[in-house]
Every structure is written in C-alpha cells, then in structure tokens.
Amino acid sequence: MISLKNVSKYFGKKCAVRDLNLEVEPGEVFAFLGPNGAGKTTTIKMITGLLRPTEGAVSVCGYDVAKQAVLSKSTMSYVPDQPYLYDKLTGREFLKFIADLYRLEGDLAEFKVQQMVDTFELDEFADQLAESYSHGMKQRVVMAAAMLHDPRVLVIDEPMVGLDPRSSRAVMNIFRERSKAGTTIFMSTHTLSVAEDVADRVGIIDKGDLVALGTIDQLRIRSRVEGRLEDVFLAITEGAGV
C-alpha cells in the first residue's frame, strides 16, 4: 500500500533521509519511530506529497505520489501533529468541506459527517467557529475529517498529542477497527506505549537511516533487550549513534 524505493531527501547539503526502502502492507499498522530530527516527519511529508524526494520514488496504493498526485492523495488521509482548521469555519462546516473534496454527495455526505461527529464526540462544539477550539478539540475534528471518506491509507504524525485519555482510547480503538477492515495506518510517534499497543511492525529511523525494521519481537531479538519497546528503542538508537 505504501512503498518507498531508494528514497533520499537532502535539505541543502544535509541528508534528512538516506536511501530508504520500505513496504507497508494493506491492513498493517506501522509505527515509525526515531529521535527528534531523525527524518520521520520528512518521510511522512514525502509520502503525503508535501515534499519531493531528492532521489527515489514513493507510491501509495500503487500510485506514484510525484506523477499521480491527485490519485494517490484521494486514497489517503493525513493527520499532522499541528492540526490545521479554518478559524472562521465551524467544525461541521469543515467536515462538509472535506466531504465535498472527496466527492461524497448529498445524503451520504450528511450521514458521514454526522457519523464522525458522533464517533469523535464533537457535537458539543461542532457548530462553533474553530478559532475557539482547544488543541485537543482541533485534533479530534482533524481526525474525524481524516476518517470521513474511509481512506485506504491513513498517515498520522503524533496521533495522541493533545488528546484526553478518553479520546486517545477511542482513537486506538478506531485504529484497530480500521486496520481489521483493511486500512493501512502509518504513524509516527514518540508515545512508545501506543506503538507497542497497536503496531504490527515498527521502523526506527535515526539520522536519516532506517536502523531497524520488524515486529516488536523481532526488534527485541535484534537488540538483545527483553522488555518494553522503550528499552528496545533506546538500545537500538544508542547503538546506531555509536
């Protein structure tokens, strides 16, 4: 579903991502981990089409992100770590806008909007202007907008930032349900407990290099660390740094 082949990205002389090869399968929840500045967000931006790779190719659902941008984007949704909403639109108006862009027509659009309002418990503030929302409220609306058109691929940068425990639990449950239904989820996070809870596979990037890839058990064997993902992560990234 997501394929990165020999992808590199340079910012001036600095290499942010180096020769990355990665395949994420349908229905898989993939957690992309790494220290600050390791290249996670750059990779996500190349998958979503915000940045062009300096070398290599990225495809989503078989569509080349550079050459078939609209087709690739119509199959996926992206939730950034800093949610973007139009201040002068209400949450409901924003969801309607997304429904229009993804060509959900008439009653179906109304139904899906209401479904998302209910799922993410937006009813209380869905008809207020977004400028009055807290970070968590914005994050919930953006998450709802991302799920609205049943994307085949969901790319999320820090999914739990700003969410209260109840919303976090709801989001985790939605991830599990969606992945069972065949949605591929690619998430970047520093909340390792979330990755441990829902991820089928984990990739660890450090200084632009993919230094580990596999299930959590495979990573435990590789790092020779028994225990939580946090310990495994620290062992791998310390090793990579040496």
Binding site: G49, L50, S74, L101
Partner: protein, 560 residues
C-alpha cells in the same frame, strides 16, 4: 462542483462567518475603519477635483495634461500592484499553513494555485479600485461624462487588476523556483535597495521637471517629453488610461477596443501563470521547504556590549530585553524590510530637499514643509509602533512561562518593551528630522524645538503601543497581523493618530506660526518657544506615564 468551486465556496463561507463575527463583536472597529476610509476617499476626491479644475483653466492643454495625469497615475499603480502581488502571492503560496493542508488533499496543483491567485487578486484589487475610483469620479464630475462612464470604468478596473496579479505571481513562482531560500533574504535586501534607488532617481527626475517660475508652454513641452515613458503603447496602464478617456469622450467603440485589449492580455497572462504553476508550483513549494536551517552565531556579543555601554543607566533586566527584542527585529525580514522601505523612502526624500529647491523658498513655505515632514515622519513612526510594538507582548504569550518564571517583575518586562520601542523610534525619527532641518537651513532654535517635540512624540507613541498592547493582549495568536487587526490594535491606531494630531497639529503648528513671525518680536518668540518646549515634554511625559500605568496595572494581574 469543480475543485476551485469547492475551495471558493468554503472561503466565502469563512468570509461570511468572519463578517458576522466582526459585526457582532467590534462595532467600534468597523465604524472607525469606515470613517477613515470615507475620509481618505473624500480627501482624494477633493484633491483630484481641484487638480482637474486647475488643469481645465488651460483648455488648450487640458486633454494633453489629463492624459499625462491618467497615464502616470495608472503606471504608478501598475508598478505598485505588480510588487504587492508578488509579495502577497509569495506569502499566500509558500508561507501559509493552508497550502500545507491543501497539498495533502486530492487537489490538482493548478486548482490550489488558482485559488490562491484569485485570493491575491481580491486582496490587491479592492485597494486599487478604492484608490482609482476617486480620481475617476472627480474627473467625471468636472467633465460631465455620460452615465455609463462610471460602471464601465469599474469593469475596466476589474479586468485590469488581473494583469499585475498574473505578472506578480509569475515573478513569485519563478523567484522561488530559481533562487534558493537561503538567498531570499539577500534578494529582499537587493530589491529594497533597488526600490530606494528608483525613488532617488524619481525625485531627481521630478526636481528636473519643476519649472523655475510659472508654468509656461516650454515647460509643458519639456514635461511631456520627459514623462513620455508612461505613454508607451505596450503599457497596460496606458490602455486603461485611454479606455477611461474614451469613455469620458463618449466614444464607446474606442473604449470597447481598449477593454478588449486589456481583457485579452489579462486572460493570456492568467493562462500563462496557470501553465507555469502546473509545471513549477509543487516543485517550487517543495524547494521552499527543503532548505536546511542555517547556523547562527549565538551569544550576545557586540550588540550586548553596545547596549550595555549606551544604556548603562537602565536596569540589567531591561537591557537584556533590549538585546533580545533587537535581535528578533533584525532577524525578522518582514519587520526590518518594512521599516527600511518606509524610512528609506522618507530619508531619500528629505536628503533631496535641496534638489527640489525647497530650501530657497520663503520662510513661511519652508516652515510649512518642515511641519509636514514632521507629520509624515510621525505617521510612519505610528505605523511602526502599531504594527510591531503593539503585538510585542501578545507574541510573548505562548512562551510567557519563560518570563513568568524568571526572577523579574512584570513591570520591568513592560518597561523593557517600552524602552526598546522608544529608543528604536528615537534614533530613526531624530535623525530624519535633523536632516530635514539641515536641508531647509533652519536656525538651531528650530532644530532644538523639533528634537524635543520628536522626543515627546516617540515616548508617547511607544507608551501608547506598549500600554494598550498589555491592556488588550491576544495571547492565543502568534500572527502579529491578526493581533493588530483586533480591537486593541484598532484602538492603538486611533489613539496614536489623535496623539500625533494633537502634538503636531496644535503645539507644532503654534510654534511654526510663532517662528514665522519671530522677526516682528523675537522676545515673544523665545517665550513661545520655552512654553512650547515645556508643554511638549509635559504632554509627552503625561501620555507615557498614563498609558504605561494602564498597561502595567492590567499586565500585573493578568493570568497566563
């Protein structure tokens, strides 16, 4: 609905919501803006009406002169529009988080470009039409034009604005594609330098055009020849000028021809801009985000040593704020470039006073010029304090914990901002006014009087902006333009204008009248000068204390 249609429908919904919110929340702001807009419009109308009345006194040259006025006026607007559109579209395509969001949606890049292009046309065209309508109405009023002149002129304007918008957007996309982001700062500096040189050349040129005595036939011929560049047949501004004049002369066929020329070029350039965006927009966008952060030498170094030495009398904490705010100012291209443009243009004008032969005029005229220079400097200064000083405290909002936890009283934080604004304003304004007085060859008493008045005005304006900035902060917003657009920013603008009007229009004017009459009774003049100096300082100090106290009391009890 098309992609563009959906984007525009959503934008109009957002505008509708914003208008309802403004009508609900800020009637004062709306009333103030409308009043000033109307007053400015009426002033422009009256100015142009007088100009056309003056021109009509020479019927033999009327058509020639009106043609010159129109072609020069529209050419200046065309140049300004190209420049402002390039800047606007750069901000809206490459610096806006909305584009980051839109690029992740299944939208074609040309749809995003067109949406942003139309937004830019809208933002730039309303100002153009606002500026152009008074001249056309004044012209129509003096000329007795047919009824269709007015709506047809507006249609011509609307079609015309697409030309500079398209040129500006092409320039912007090409610059971002071809010039690395690390070089953009240097390019901005070079562009500003080029602009200032252009202003200098224009002033020298204008000085060469000014007749030595009364305007005569030879002067007129010379003038026509010198500004013939504005009559170049390839300039869109000339097509607009000729179209408007054809309408006024009841020549609808000829007007329609020019409308056709403008329309076809607008469409062609719009299509060209679209075609360029299709190939380059995403590439240039990605490029604009692909520049690594440059390493900046840290430490307080030379700047800190200079500020410590010059402002040794201020407490250490306030000096630290002076250093921090100065660094922020210098590193923010938006801030220093705007200040440089405004004050750069003023400096060039003032330094050319002798080229314009203002120094040779009679005492009363020189005195009026000096007073107008003073007013212009203060008005530009108030835009600086309103745009950059008023939001200073609001911008600390999200990181206020740094200041809140530091062992420093809030009062000192406020005074730190005040001194930054005050000293920054003082250096620029005193320099300009001193230069103006030197160019006009005034005696030292006038220099001294102006220096004291400027000191009082700088202190007052800095205190007004800092005080009201603390009284009406917007701690959630990190965009200074939006902070300024709120109620507090509007009030700051009103109060600053009134303060300048009071200081320049009453005290300054009284002094200038007294100065002009000083030969009759020098003793009276010195008494007036003394009273004027004391009054200036008193009002400046009272205003500063009053507004700083307002800000302080609010700031000290504010929760973050």
């Amino acid at each position: 609905m098309s992609e563009l249609g959906i984007l525009l429908a959503t934008r109009s919904k957002a505008i509708k919501n914003a208008v309802s919110a403004v009508r609900r929340d800020s009637r004062l702001k709306v009333a103030f803006i409308l009043t000033f807009a109307l007053a400015f419009w009426v002033a422009l109308f009256m100015g142009f009406r007088e100009a056309f009345a003056f021109i009509s006194q020479a019927p033999a040259f009327e058509n020639l002169l009106v043609g010159l006025v129109f072609s020069l006026f529209f050419l200046s607007l065309l140049v300004m529009l190209v420049f402002s559109n390039a800047v606007l579209i750069y901000g809206s395509l490459y610096r806006s988080s909305e584009v980051d969001f839109l690029l992740t949606l299944p939208l074609r890049e040309e749809s995003i470009f067109s949406y942003k292009y139309l937004e830019t046309v809208f933002y730039s065209s309303w100002a153009f039409i606002y500026m152009a309508v008074p001249i056309v109405v004044a012209f129509g009023y003096k000329r007795g034009v047919p009824w269709y002149f007015y709506p047809a002129a507006v249609v011509m304007f609307l079609v015309f604005v697409a030309i500079p918008a398209a040129i500006g957007s092409i320039i912007s996309v090409l610059v971002v594609t071809l010039v690395p982001r690390s070089k953009l700062k240097a390019l901005t500096a070079v562009s500003i330098a080029a602009l200032l040189v252009a202003v200098l050349v224009a002033i020298k040129y204008a000085a060469g055009l000014a007749p030595k005595y009364n305007l005569g036939y030879n002067d007129l011929t010379r003038l026509t020849g010198k500004v013939s560049f504005a009559q170049n047949a390839l300039l869109p501004s000339l097509w607009l000028s000729k179209g408007i004049l054809s309408l006024a002369r009841s020549e609808p066929k000829r007007a329609l021809f020019y409308l056709g020329v403008i329309l076809s070029n607008s469409l062609f350039l719009t299509v060209l801009a679209q075609a360029i965006s299709r190939g380059l927009f995403w590439k240039s966008f990605s490029r604009s985000r692909s520049t690594g952060a440059s390493r900046i030498k840290t430490g307080f170094g030379l700047l800190k040593r200079v500020i410590d030495a010059v402002f040794f009398f201020l407490p250490r904490e306030i000096r630290l704020f002076l250093v921090k705010d100065t660094k922020t100012f210098v590193r923010d291209t938006t801030q220093w470039s705007q200040v440089l443009i405004f004050f750069g243009v003023l400096t060039i004008y003032v330094s050319n006073i002798r080229s314009l032969r203002y120094d040779l005029r009679v005492e009363e005229a020189k005195s009026s010029i000096a007073l107008l220079n003073l007013a212009a400097t203060c008005l530009v200064l108030s835009t600086f304090t309103g745009r950059f000083i008023f939001p200073l405290l609001s911008l600390e909002g999200k990181k206020f914990w740094v200041l809140g936890l530091a062992p420093i009283s809030r009062k000192r934080i406020l005074y730190g901002k005040f001194f930054f604004a005050f000293f920054g304003s003082l250096v620029i304004s005193e320099g300009l006014i001193a230069l103006s007085d030197w160019m006009l060859e005034f005696p030292l008493s006038m220099w001294f009087a102006h220096a004291v008045l400027v000191l009082a005005i700088c202190a007052g304006l800095a205190a007004i902006s800092v005080g009201l900035g603390a009284k009406y902060p917007n701690l959630k917003e990190d965009n200074p333009a939006r902070i300024v657009a709120g109620f507090g920013g509007t009030l700051n603008l009103i109060v600053s204008m009134f303060y300048i009007a009071a200081m320049v229009g009453t005290i300054g004017l009284a002094h200038h009248i007294s100065f002009a009459r000083r030969t009759y009774d020098i003793a009276v003049y010195y008494r007036t000068l003394t009273a004027y100096l004391l009054l200036s300082l008193l009002i400046g100090a009272a205003t500063s204390v009053f507004f700083l106290n307002i800000g302080r009391s609010e700031f000290e009890k504010m929760d973050f």
